[in-house]
């Protein structure tokens, strides 16, 4: 089954934490949390298995440290939250044309240094998704061919979807 093959392949990565989720209630089969630097490796594995990229979602967890009680980040499938600082989370959704298996690849990075390697070399389709996530959150995708604003005006310097965005 595709899900087994891919979960073993991804588990081989050093910092990967693979978790099976119930598709009926969550909408995806596998939730894999990896460190930002290992992202291209995970994407290459998924590419070899014939997955296609569906979407890249940026999430701004501002005020996560201050919030009392178990935050969303504490759930098993997330990467361990950074001890010191709030974080940006980027979720890559992959799916397979032939066999149904949606993989949610998650990474987290500190809000002060939102730096993550690009996967547009492996998936050209991710090029625009990354530019859009950069538009909305200011996350810098290192060695991305052309990180100019995609949806915002060319000279836009603000990032509207950050929680601390003031118009």
């Amino acid at each position: 089954m595709k899900k087994l093959a891919i979960s073993q392949a991804l588990a081989a990565l050093a910092s990967a934490r693979v978790l099976e989720c119930d598709h009926a209630s969550r909408g995806f089969h596998l939730s894999v949390a990896v460190a930002p630097l290992e992202l291209p490796a995970a994407a290459k594995i998924l590419d070899q298995q014939g997955f296609f990229i569906e979407a890249i979602t940026g999430v701004d967890w501002l005020g996560e440290q201050a919030a009392p009680g178990p935050t969303v980040a504490d759930q098993a499938e997330h990467q361990p939250p950074l001890p010191s600082e709030d974080s940006f989370e980027v979720v890559y959704d992959f799916n397979h044309f032939a066999k149904l298996c949606r993989v949610a690849l998650r990474t987290r990075m500190p809000r002060s240094r939102p730096e993550i390697p690009t996967i547009s070399a492996i998936y050209p389709g991710a090029n625009w998704h990354e530019r859009e996530t950069h538009d909305f959150f200011g996350i810098i995708f290192s060695d991305h061919p052309d990180l100019s604003p995609l949806l915002l005006p060319e000279d836009a310097d603000f990032h509207p979807l950050c929680k601390d965005y003031k118009p």
């Binding site: 915002l152 005006p153 603000f158 509207p160 003031k166 118009p167």
Partner: protein, 165 residues
């Protein structure tokens, strides 16, 4: 009620002006300029069921140089506003603008505190003659708006008024 158009010649030939306005009123060529959902209703007005060609307005010209009416059909985003302004300036006089749909009148459903992306209404970037509310307005409302523009041009309405109840 001739258009208070700032480019009127100093000398007025009243009957000639009336004739010119009558000619202009009956052959308003709209500029194909659809932005969003209202553009689909504008297309639905131009086709077989509500046929704008009956009033001489069926000739949808793609080039701004040959059109008289700019029907702003859809939301005006800040990135698009300079483009719309250039299109308006490229249209030769006499020209008119119809704001079709709530987005073109005052931003419609996309207005909220702290919105960064849209211009709230076409009248912020160019003079608008006719406003047609609705989201999207039915094709009959666009025909009604064009008849109102003709009334504004010629001063009288040749067609029966329709009240919906």
């Amino acid at each position: 009620m001739v258009t208070a158009n700032a480019h009127l010649p100093i000398v007025h030939f009243s009957s000639l002006d009336k004739l010119l306005n009558l000619g202009r009123a009956n052959s308003l060529w709209p500029l194909t300029f659809g932005l969003a959902c209202c553009a689909i209703e504008m297309m639905a007005t131009g086709v077989a069921r509500f046929d704008l060609d009956r009033f001489g307005m069926g000739v949808f010209r793609p080039a701004p140089k040959q059109s008289d009416v700019m029907i702003v059909a859809g939301t005006i985003s800040k990135k698009m506003a300079p483009g719309i302004r250039t299109l308006y300036e490229q249209m030769p006089h006499p020209k008119w603008v119809i704001a079709l749909g709530n987005c073109a009148i005052a931003g419609g459903p996309f207005v909220f505190a702290g919105q960064y992306g849209i211009v709230e209404g076409a009248d912020k970037i160019m003079p608008v003659d006719i406003y047609i509310p609705g989201c999207p307005p039915r094709p009959e409302a666009l025909v009604e708006g064009l008849l109102l523009l003709e009334e504004k041009l010629t001063g009288s309405r040749r067609w029966p008024r329709v009240n919906p109840e």
